[in-house]
């Protein structure tokens, strides 16, 4: 700890910070622009000027930039010093000389760091009478809006986009007062993290274009802590609601998961909640083949109960995108033996295997923060930028760790961004990527290896064997993999905090090999961490609940045992082949679907019950590292929408079940779940209970300045209705509640007096960049076994030689389009690629196919014509098919299939 003196008062701060960080950490206000806790200081904006004294006897001191002054023991500064104050005021005045008179029409207004800093320094009138410089804007695509006039040239955007997220298509151009931030030409920003510019920009140059379509100020947004539903990482988010529609998603800091940033899928995928395909009313079909008709909820519930009551055996199909509570309610209703996880057989095997590995391996699961802290990483199987984007951003930070240590040896503090960059230049830490074909992360990798999944697995087994000879050997390794093994082993053993990251890429062998590598590292005394990706927001939670996959469910119906099914938040056509699902739905007598979004499965159901999305419900998701995180409803649902577990409880009550009678709130379900399965025992404690109060008050979802209370619904009735009740959480759908800092799991928004922008976050952290006050929310349920005596996986796959005319079809994930819900958001849908068949240049030449030619594809019982896309990094003999498009593609990838050029009428051998 260092003792610093600010304004003649002593404070204790952690070593190794700069004075700006230290001052903000102890709760003082000091204006700044170019500094960002995740990106360090460059001392460019001159806004954090303070008077720095040599010692207690020094009365004159000198002006210094707080962000460039190390907070060493005894450092003495004065923030209140008159000259420093004047200096800061004049800096703002210069910055504002060309700032347009835009605040009323600017989307940043009300949460603008520039506004806050202007007020903080006291500048209020433009004395300069010269003309304002102007710029033309660029069209940056459907997600981010550009308004360059407002720029104050702080360089934060380029520092994030280029230095932090490694984007290449955005930069700073020009000189003196015509410095311009943008792309070379108009066009969609390529980085998957471009949406963070909205939060990074201290003013309104970059704003959320999806919010612009239904613009609402921050003070009018009803917000609550939530968790992203668009991948398995479980980033914490703050969705905002107004007039019954979800308006935007902002990042919610969690030091252990998503620090300051979220990906574009998470930020802009929310619009499915307001989408045209939302179900707001129940729908029933009284006879098979009849038109489905809208029904009120009581009628639908009665019909569903009758259907289920008549059935011999009712099975339930759960969902990886439904909350733990919903899945458990279904499991309780149908019984443990009748509960099936609603994912494809292959995905289910992978999810269970991943869970077994996490529980059996001595390697601890890595959180996002652990991955970012790692100084050597081995990524296997997946293009994480497309499947778990924030993991990719964390890996991009991990390659900076080894060079950072080098800079630390030169005594350059890690916050000195420019100094560190000068010292390490282009040097990168060890990151090795083994994937089926090129990934978006390859530019950060030291070495890449592209091969079919089995060979990726074999590389992993070989690395594990080289680390620990007691792990199974790999007899023959491809020539291009052999030199890699030694290099990877050196990198992993040379690192202090190595991490092994693996996605399934549809192959269990890849996961097993990753587990072996992590285990071998741990056994050899290198405390490696293991990070396995999960495909959906609650895949791990579903795996923890147990049960069987989809195929046994189909089997139960085919054998005639079961004649009724309840399908929970799941479109089966995305989980299994269309023919199989058609047959299943045809054969089973009664189908009850509980979902929030209309789909093909819902279209065939006898009864459709409208469920709540994440924005309208409370619950728990378990992310890929096994962290249980609670999310809270942001708004009350429209129409007859209810939370899935409430529908299921009502169904159970209609069937006369006594065990659910006590289920009044989501906490009752959690307690039942905790009692039923010991792994979920901590569930009731991961967040404060519904009875939690601060000074007798609930936590207000609406900010203190929420406007329009007596006018919003006045067109319907001039008599105001009381705010909706919330029995499930300590939050309240009103501005009348506690507006200060609640416990970290309940933070509905980052806002502090004088800090209206997201920078108010500084006031919610124990120290800048550290955990939230009271610890980061969420609790890890899955911990490695104490003894960890698990054996190495022994089944090394054989090197698969392709047979003539056969191609190995591998999945190609896309950040925009592969995920079901976000693909329904118009902005994301615009960026999603059209379905294609990716071929290697050699194979394309061999089959005389060119880019965009049509090709006939036949794999896994599915055939169709797709346009060719030539992928340079794809090894010959493999075909890449995008995942999740149209929902009817072949699902169990990788698989062997055939490819034919329809023009020459003959099959192509390689």
């Amino acid at each position: 700890m260092a003792k610093i003196i600010v304004n003649e008062r002593e404070y204790e701060v952690r070593d190794g910070q700069n004075m700006l960080q230290a001052a903000l950490s102890v709760g003082l206000d000091l204006p700044y622009f170019c500094w960002h806790p995740a990106m360090g200081s460059i001392g460019a904006c001159r806004q954090c000027a303070v008077r720095l004294f040599r010692d207690a006897n020094d009365t004159r001191g000198k002006l210094a930039m707080a962000c460039m002054t190390p907070a060493n023991d005894g450092t003495r500064i004065s923030i209140d010093d008159a000259e420093a104050r004047d200096f800061r005021a004049s800096v703002i005045e210069w910055l504002m000389a060309s700032h347009p008179h835009d605040c009323p029409v600017c989307d940043e207004g009300g949460e603008c760091h520039l506004q806050d800093m202007t007020v903080m320094t006291g500048h209020n009138y433009r004395r300069y009478s010269g003309r304002k410089r102007t710029f033309r804007n660029q069209d940056l695509g459907p997600l981010v809006n550009h308004e360059m006039n407002r720029c104050i040239q702080c360089y934060r955007c380029v520092r994030f986009y280029r230095d932090y997220a490694d984007g290449r298509d955005f930069d700073v151009f020009g000189i003196r007062n015509q410095v311009y931030y943008g792309r070379q030409f108009d066009g969609v920003l390529e980085s998957e993290f471009s949406g963070n510019l909205v939060e990074i920009c201290p003013t309104g140059v970059f704003t959320d274009k999806t919010l612009k379509g239904h613009y609402t100020r921050k003070w009018d947004l009803q917000t609550a802590p939530s968790v992203c539903v668009h991948c398995g990482v479980g980033c914490n988010t703050i969705p905002g609601e107004r007039y019954g529609a979800l308006r935007r998603i902002y990042n919610r800091y969690n030091g252990e998961v998503n620090g300051y940033f979220i990906c574009d899928r998470g930020r802009f995928g929310y619009e499915f909640v307001n989408g045209a395909r939302r179900l707001h009313h129940a729908r029933v079909r009284t006879e098979r083949g009849a038109e489905a008709a809208p029904a009120d909820s009581d009628e639908a519930l009665r019909l569903a109960a009758t259907l289920l009551g008549k059935a011999k055996r009712v099975i339930g199909i759960g969902s990886p995108r439904a909350s733990l509570e919903a899945n458990f309610a279904l499991r309780t209703l149908v019984g443990e033996g009748n509960f099936y996880a609603g994912v494809s057989e292959k995905e289910w095997r992978l999810a269970r295997l991943a869970l077994d590995i996490m529980q059996g391996s001595p390697a601890k699961a890595a959180s996002l923060a652990d991955v970012a802290r790692a100084d050597a990483a081995l990524v296997r199987g997946e293009d994480v930028t497309q499947t778990a984007p924030m993991l990719a951003l964390a890996l991009r930070q991990s390659v900076r760790q080894a060079p950072l240590r080098k800079a630390a040896k030169l005594r350059i503090p890690d916050w000195d961004a420019a100094g560190v960059r000068n010292a390490v230049q282009e040097e990168k830490g060890p990151l090795y990527i083994a994937s089926t074909f090129g990934t978006r992360l390859d530019d950060a990798a030291k070495r890449t290896y592209r091969a079919p999944p089995d060979d990726i697995a074999r590389l992993g087994f070989a690395v594990a064997h080289a680390l620990d000879a007691s792990s199974p050997p790999v007899p023959v390794l491809p020539a291009n993999a052999r030199p890699l093994v030694g290099e990877i082993v050196d990198a992993l053993t040379g690192a202090e905090e190595p991490v092994v990251l693996s996605g399934g890429c549809g192959s269990e062998a890849v996961l097993r090999a990753a587990a072996n590598v992590a285990m071998a590292l741990c056994r050899k005394g290198h405390p490696a961490r293991l990070c396995l990706t999960a495909p959906e927001c609650n895949s791990t939670g579903l795996a923890l609940l147990g049960g069987e996959g989809l195929e046994p469910a189909f089997g139960a119906v085919t054998s005639g045992e079961a004649d009724a099914v309840i399908i929970l938040e799941n479109d089966l056509y995305r989980r299994a082949g269309a023919a199989a699902v058609d047959a299943f739905l045809e054969e089973v007598g009664s189908v009850v679907v509980i979902d929030h979004t209309d789909g093909e499965t819902a279209a065939r159901a006898g009864v459709v019950l409208p469920a709540a999305t994440f924005a309208e419900s409370d619950g728990v998701f378990v992310n890929n590292e096994g962290r249980a995180q609670r999310f809270y409803s942001v708004m009350t649902p429209r129409g007859d929408v209810r939370e899935s577990w409430r529908w299921l409880r009502d169904l159970a009550l209609a069937a006369g079940r006594a065990d659910v009678e006590a289920w009044a709130t989501v906490e009752d379900v959690d307690r039942a779940l905790a009692a039923a399965m010991p792994i979920f025992a901590p569930l009731p404690e991961i967040a404060p209970p519904a009875g939690f109060r601060i000074a007798g008050q609930r936590i207000a979802r609406q900010p203190g300045r929420y406007s329009g209370r007596t006018a919003i619904t006045a067109n319907v009735s001039v008599h105001e209705t009381p705010p909706p009740e919330d029995t499930d959480s300590p939050l309240v759908f009103s501005m009348e509640g506690y507006q200060g800092q609640p416990p970290s799991a309940l933070i509905p928004r980052f806002w502090a007096p004088g800090w209206n922008s997201v920078q108010a976050l500084n006031k919610f952290q124990e120290e800048i960049g550290g955990p939230l006050r009271g610890g980061d929310p969420g609790r890890r349920l899955v911990e490695p076994a104490e003894d960890a005596a698990a054996d190495y996986f022994a089944d090394v796959p054989r090197h698969g030689e392709p047979s003539a005319g056969n191609y190995l079809f591998v999945p190609a994930h896309h950040i925009f389009g592969s995920e079901e819900l976000s693909a329904l958001a118009p902005g994301i849908a615009r960026l999603a690629p059209r379905p294609y068949a990716g071929l290697s240049p050699d194979d394309a030449r061999g089959a005389s196919l060119a880019e965009a030619n049509e090709v006939e594809v036949s794999v896994g019982g599915w055939s169709g014509r797709l346009p060719v896309r030539i992928i340079d990094t794809l090894p010959p003999g493999m075909v890449a098919l995008p995942v999740g498009f149209a929902g009817r593609g072949p699902l169990e990838l990788p698989a062997w299939g055939e490819l034919r050029n329809p023009r020459d009428g003959r099959g192509q051998a390689q």
Partner: protein, 170 residues
Amino acid sequence: MLSIVKGLWIVFLHMFRRRVTVQYPEQKPYLAPRWRGRIILSRINGEERCVACYLCAVACPVDCIALQATEDESGRRFPEWFRINFSRCIFCGFCEEACPTYAIQLTPDFEMGEYVRQNLVYEKEDLLIAGPGKYAGYDFYRVAGLAIGGKDKGEGENEAPPRDVRTLLP
């Protein structure tokens, strides 16, 4: 006894004073232009002045203003709908003070009585007037940096033409 006579005498004297009672509604009182009565939304050069910035709504102490912003194709922002619940309004004038475009103004009109409270809910059509109201001449979009239909970048007041970022000349 004496005090009663004294009182009667004073009342009697008042009969010869000037009458102050105004014969409303036959006789209308003079109200200054700054009088805080019925709220209107004004226009300038035929265009709506309101840019839907939500400042009036947030300034309103009784929260009786609600609106939703939208934009036309040219990027000009305006309220999609704008509602004032006059049954809650206390005519404090904070909305007018907060308004950065002189769009919302209070007028010297208080004759808004209704038998049905619901009729006191005014929508945008009820609020918009044809002219600029009390403040002529100020057109927000002339001084804002935003490009809208009919005003490109650099064409606002006190604005330099847009920079050519590709030039190498100083």
